[in-house]
């Protein structure tokens, strides 16, 4: 398979999930900052909530790595 197409596929896998993560973290982060101003003791839970969407981009990274390693090996 064309290496260029594989690279584009890997880029899309990371890029789209990164956008999704960024969007979710933006929403959670702004709400979290508001909550933090009212209740500073919630810092730990807010870090946790902000960090949860990162799984999306990590899975995107896993998919990209698979595309590059497995598919390019077969091609």
């Amino acid at each position: 398979m064309d290496v260029g197409l594989l690279a584009i596929g890997a880029g899309i896998a990371v890029g789209i999930t990164a956008l999704g993560t960024g969007y979710a973290q933006g929403k959670i982060g702004s709400a979290g900052a508001g909550a933090l101003a009212e209740k500073p003791e919630l810092a730990g839970r807010i870090i946790l909530l902000v960090a949860i969407p990162e799984t999306m981009v990590i899975l995107g990274f896993a998919v990209a790595a698979m595309i590059l390693l497995i598919l390019s090996g077969q091609g």
Binding site: A43, G44, R45, I47, L48, A51, I52, E54, T55, I58, L59, F61, A62, A65, L68, L69
Partner: protein
């Protein structure tokens, strides 16, 4: 670990209440439970008698006065401070303090008022001085006029035509009996002096007010003086103010040396007494006795007994209560861990304290968090720099427990980063290769290393998540919580089954293992369905997949590490392209500084997240209330 707590009931005669409370306050090991909120003591809450109410009001009033005076008196050397010799009875103490304050306070307040007035004057006079100095060049054209008023004005250059308007109005009012002189004060301001008969003073001020012209208003003591005289007066006054201020500060320092230490002791005693009086409402009573219920660390129980025996006598009874399982869960939480693990209590507190009777994961966090951090950063130079920065931060901010704990965590993480730096062969990214540092395992910058790196992080994730599930199973077993036990055991079976299936599918295990793997999967699904019947039937597989997602989440260790090494590599290559040694060093320095800052922050957050979400989710039960013993809190040195 969580310090084991005992619930105690202390009974004694009401006459011994004050001494009992004082002894407990000095011990600082007992958290008193509010009897009104406790169902275990069916007795009425204790109320303050008239004598104690009177003492409380006097103590509050005296403490307010003391705080105000201590705010005025400057700090003194602790060694020279005079301590308060505590009188025998509370009445004598309050009366002595009251008379002392009545005698000394007026003088202190008078000096403080004088000092404040001098300070205000010292701030305001230079402002007049600056303005008048700008207007001074205009004055030689003016003579002293009896019966005339002089007004100094400052105008924005753009509105200079206001002076023409003022001139026309004054002409109409005075028939040429006035003078206006003006000159540029600076690039934006025009200064003007207007002299006119006092008879038309009101009309002129009305006009200036309507046109919003800024008048230079002089303090009363400068009224009637010419600008030159006012400037001279201000200079003389400023010299005098400095002398008077020095005298006032000296007088306050002398008073402070005499009173501050003494009153600090008195304030401490008043605060302690007020705390005792406030806590009384949390006790319960019978006609002749008081009843106090509270929590004390098991190991301090004998100390409480001994202290009360010694200070109050054997008529006060300390009784250890037998607890139900529900009461055990209500016990306050006190974390106690060995030195190297103690900084990680910070991360537990940031989230929420564990519930009493459950697992404290601080020691496990102390083991895994720096390890994950080091795996992500993995650079000898960055690790060394972080240890150096942590050392400096810990000594620079030694009074901040948060900075101290974070510094110690970063130092441990830096140590692991050095270890993994040698394994990856990284020193400022790939720069280490140039000086002969070769990877003991594999270099991360090599694309062929990626599969090994990913497998290693997934294996680590699997081990961490399985450990979490095992702890969850053990905790559920201990608590006899059947649903949690089935759920966690089901997840454990399911996870093992999925690993086996993947190993069989990738031919790493013989196909004969397929049957036990499928059997483990079915057992896992059945246990999950049983844990939350009937929704567990549907949610079980979802939970299982979510746990696999938890394991995959550990891929971030590889991802963050790769981003760090590639950023360092970019820095090194850009530095090489500069063509000038010094410019190259500057560019490389900036890149590595950025990478180090990211390298300290990002792995911390991600290590924390792996613990909070992936690991703690399998066993951690939050909701603990911090142990807050009755004692002397918030008292400061003189």
């Amino acid at each position: 670990m969580l310090v084991p707590m005992a619930k105690v009931r202390i009974l004694g005669h009401k006459a011994q209440l004050d001494e009992t409370l004082a002894a407990l306050q000095d011990l600082e090991v007992l958290q008193i439970e509010n009897a009104a909120e406790s169902s275990s003591v069916p007795l009425p809450a204790m109320t303050l008698d008239a004598g104690r109410l009177g003492h409380r009001e006097s103590a509050r009033f005296l403490l307010a006065r003391l705080d105000a005076l201590l705010g005025i008196l400057p700090p003194v050397e602790a060694s020279t401070a005079v301590r308060f010799e505590v009188p025998s009875t509370e009445e004598v103490f309050l009366a002595t303090l009251q008379s002392e304050l009545d005698a000394a306070a007026p003088n202190i307040q008078q000096i403080a008022q004088t000092r404040d007035a001098l300070n205000r004057e010292q701030i305001s006079l230079p402002r007049y001085q600056a303005t008048l100095a700008k207007l001074l060049p205009l004055t030689p054209e003016l003579a002293d006029f009896e019966g005339y008023e002089t007004v100094a004005l400052l105008l924005d250059r753009r509105y200079g035509q206001v002076l023409e308007l003022l001139d026309q109005v004054l002409k109409g009012l005075t028939q040429q009996d006035h003078v206006i002189v003006s000159a540029a004060v600076d690039s934006e301001t025009i200064g003007a002096l207007t002299v006119f008969p006092r008879a038309i003073s009101d009309e002129v001020h009305d006009l200036l007010g309507r046109e919003r012209v800024t008048q230079v208003r002089m303090p009363p003591e400068l009224t009637g003086m010419s600008i030159g005289q006012a400037l001279t007066h201000i200079e003389q006054r400023l010299v005098k103010i400095r002398q008077e201020l020095a005298a006032a500060n000296l007088a306050l320092a002398e008073l402070s040396a005499r009173w501050r230490g003494r009153w600090m002791t008195a304030a401490e005693r008043l605060r302690a007494r007020l705390a005792q009086l406030e806590i009384i409402s949390q006790l319960s009573e019978t006609r002749y006795t008081f009843v106090l219920t509270g929590w004390v660390p098991e190991r301090a129980l004998s100390r409480v007994n001994a202290a009360l025996q010694e200070r109050v006598g054997d008529t006060v009874v300390v009784e250890k209560l037998q607890l139900t399982r529900a009461e055990c869960k209500q016990a306050p939480v006190l974390l106690e861990n060995p030195g190297p693990a103690r900084p990680f209590e910070l991360f537990i507190r940031i989230l929420a304290l564990p519930q009493s009777g459950t697992l404290d994961p601080t020691r496990l966090m102390a083991l895994f968090m720096p390890l994950f951090f080091g795996m992500m950063l993995g650079d000898v130079a960055y690790g060394g720099l972080l240890i150096g920065v942590s050392y400096v931060a810990e000594h620079r901010f030694r009074h901040s427990p948060t900075v101290r704990d974070l510094s110690r965590f970063l130092a441990l993480g830096g140590g692991w980063a050095i270890v993994f730096g040698f394994l990856y062969g990284e020193f400022l990214g790939t720069l280490g290769h140039a000086v002969g540092l070769h990877p003991l395992w594999k270099g991360r910058e090599d694309p062929e290393t990626l599969p090994s790196l990913l497998v290693m992080t997934i294996a680590l994730g699997a081990a961490h998540v399985v450990l979490g599930l095992l702890l969850g199973v053990w905790q559920a077993w201990r608590q006899k919580a059947r649903h949690e036990l089935w759920e966690r055991a089901g997840l454990l079976f399911g996870l093992v089954a999925i690993f086996l299936l993947v190993a069989v599918a990738t031919s790493r295990l013989p196909r004969g293992m397929m049957t036990p793997a499928l059997a483990a999967l079915v057992i896992g699904l059945v246990l999950l369905a049983r844990a939350q019947w009937p929704t567990g039937l549907l949610m079980g597989p979802v939970e299982m997949l979510s746990t696999v997602g938890n394991v995959l989440s550990y891929l971030r260790i590889a991802a963050i590490g790769l981003s760090s090494v590639y950023l360092a590599q970019v820095g090194n290559r850009m530095a090489g392209l500069m063509g000038n040694l010094w410019l190259g060093i500057i560019v490389a320095g900036l890149f590595h500084a950025l990478n180090l800052a990211l390298g300290a922050f990002s792995p911390t957050i991600h290590s924390l997240r792996l613990h909070y979400v992936e690991f703690f989710g399998k066993f951690y039960q939050d909701g603990g209330v911090p142990f807050s013993p009755f004692g002397h809190h918030g008292q400061s040195a003189p």
